[in-house]
């Protein structure tokens, strides 16, 4: 098929993880399609998820000034890497530290002070690499696909990523103070789709994200006059892509487990890069 509707996971892989296997696959998949359409909703999810997480880790490095302390903080956040186990990921990061730790820094510490210690050097190396990665990813977000579609008039990208002293700030409330989400009008006339998608969500795993999604979808057809808020827009998540992907397109996503049942219920196709 020549037309792809790009979901957030592929955007993240192509922008923030471009050297990893998943990143390379994402970039190759985007090249395979004649037309790749990126909905602004994916940019909004990219901002509120991965970009915010990267900024958090960057700022942890900037404030602790210690690679070891920042990795410990990451471990305590109880997040689990997608492909690695926590132990494997920690081992990989420890190996990085050991690689640089083998270099004698004694004389450098004498000359340059604590900034020459291995932990401090690693901290700044990773902080700078993360920052460069984030700045570059944000700058390229709208050029990675052949077109950016479905603009959201109540969402602003203007001050998404900015620097405050040594810290990176990702705007946590990018939706402008409109009474309701700009998608409200379109969502209200898609009540049948909302009902179908909610039925599917109820069969999916009982995670908090799915419960919020089911509640929002139910609200769309049960109480259509109720204002559709920014939170409800955010909670749509995977359902947004199933609902708004053009019928002649394929949804490009790595999250087939969650999106495929939703898309299938509306007669749409999903493909992994």
């Amino acid at each position: 098929m020549a037309r792809a509707f790009v979901e957030t996971t592929v955007l993240v892989d192509a922008l923030l993880k471009r050297r990893s296997d998943t990143g390379i696959k994402a970039i190759e998949a985007l090249r395979r399609f004649e037309t790749t359409e990126l909905p602004v909703y994916a940019i909004k999810e990219f901002q509120s998820g991965p970009l915010k997480n990267f900024a958090w880790f960057h700022n942890k490095l900037a404030t602790t000034k210690s690679f070891a302390a920042a990795v410990t903080a990451l471990q305590k956040m109880a997040m689990t890497p997608r492909r690695y186990t926590v132990a494997t990921a920690l081992e990989g990061l420890r190996e990085a530290a050991e690689g640089f730790g083998s270099i004698p820094v004694g004389k450098l510490v004498e000359r340059y002070g604590t900034s020459a210690k291995t932990d401090s050097v690693l901290c700044d190396m990773f902080r700078l690499s993360i920052k460069v990665n984030m700045v570059r990813a944000w700058a390229k977000r709208r050029s990675i696909c052949t077109s950016t579609v479905h603009p959201l008039s109540c969402y602003s990208e203007d001050s998404t990523l900015r620097q405050d002293n040594d810290l990176l700030v990702v705007d946590s409330s990018p939706c402008r103070g409109a009474v309701e989400c700009c998608l409200a009008g379109v969502l209200r006339i898609r009540q049948d789709e909302s009902r179908t998608l909610r039925d599917v969500v109820l069969t999916q795993s009982k995670k908090a994200e799915n419960e919020r999604r089911a509640r929002t979808l139910r609200s769309l057809y049960r109480t259509p006059k109720r204002p559709i808020t920014a939170d409800m827009c955010r909670d749509l998540g995977d359902a947004y892509f199933a609902m708004f992907a053009p019928a002649d397109s394929v949804i490009l996503s790595t999250n087939l487990r969650d999106i495929e049942p939703l898309a299938s219920a509306l007669g749409k196709k999903v493909e992994r890069p």
């Binding site: 957030t8 923030l16 050297r19 997608r82 190396m125």
Partner: protein, 188 residues
């Protein structure tokens, strides 16, 4: 009464002697940018900061280290065909110089980002043979950094892009692990 314009004399260097000669008074004013005497010319960093004048210790150290780094890369390029082992060894010797340069990162974030990129390019290419284009690019980045060490992050990213265009990888491979951990799929 003579006008101000009439009293202005344009000075034009004599082609033979280089000495400026007064010309006849002209009623127009000649802009400095039009004068061949005031065309911009590049001053070398060594002429700008001869040894000990006005620069900080860190700046002077970074200049010395960058000059050493540039020599290693030039020597590596020179040995590439005649003695590939020695050529590769020169690039290995570059690594501790770059690490010491990273200790000069107080010079600015752009400077630090480019040195960081060079460190990881060398580290990631350790098991490969350097090709001529890569050596040329590394030498060019070091030269540029030596003459313009004060960069902003956008300028630094342009340097990193140059390294990537010659198949160098100017970032730690472990970034992949962090990316996997922070990609939003693993939120608690």
């Amino acid at each position: 009464m003579a006008t101000a314009a009439a009293t202005i004399r344009e000075l034009k260097p004599d082609a033979g002697t280089g000495v400026s000669q007064p010309l006849e008074a002209k009623p127009n004013v000649v802009a400095i940018s039009d004068s061949p005497r005031y065309q911009p010319s590049r001053i070398s960093i060594d002429a700008l900061y001869p040894d000990s004048t006005g620069a900080t210790d860190v700046f002077r150290t970074s200049q010395r280290l960058l000059a050493t780094a540039a020599n290693y890369v030039t020597e590596s390029a020179g040995l590439r065909w005649t003695d590939p082992v020695a050529s590769d060894d020169k690039m290995s010797q570059l690594f501790p110089i770059l690490l010491e340069l990273f200790c000069c990162r107080e010079l600015g974030e752009g400077f630090a980002a480019v040195i960081n990129g060079l460190i990881h390019s060398v580290r990631n290419n350790a098991s490969e043979q350097w090709d001529g284009t890569q050596l040329k690019e590394v030498a060019s980045v070091i030269d540029s950094l030596r003459s313009e060490p004060y960069l902003n992050l956008d300028q630094a990213i342009a340097y990193l892009d140059r390294m990537e265009r010659v198949e160098l990888v100017p970032e730690p491979p472990e970034l992949d692990i962090l990316g996997d951990w922070l990609d939003g799929q693993s939120l608690r």
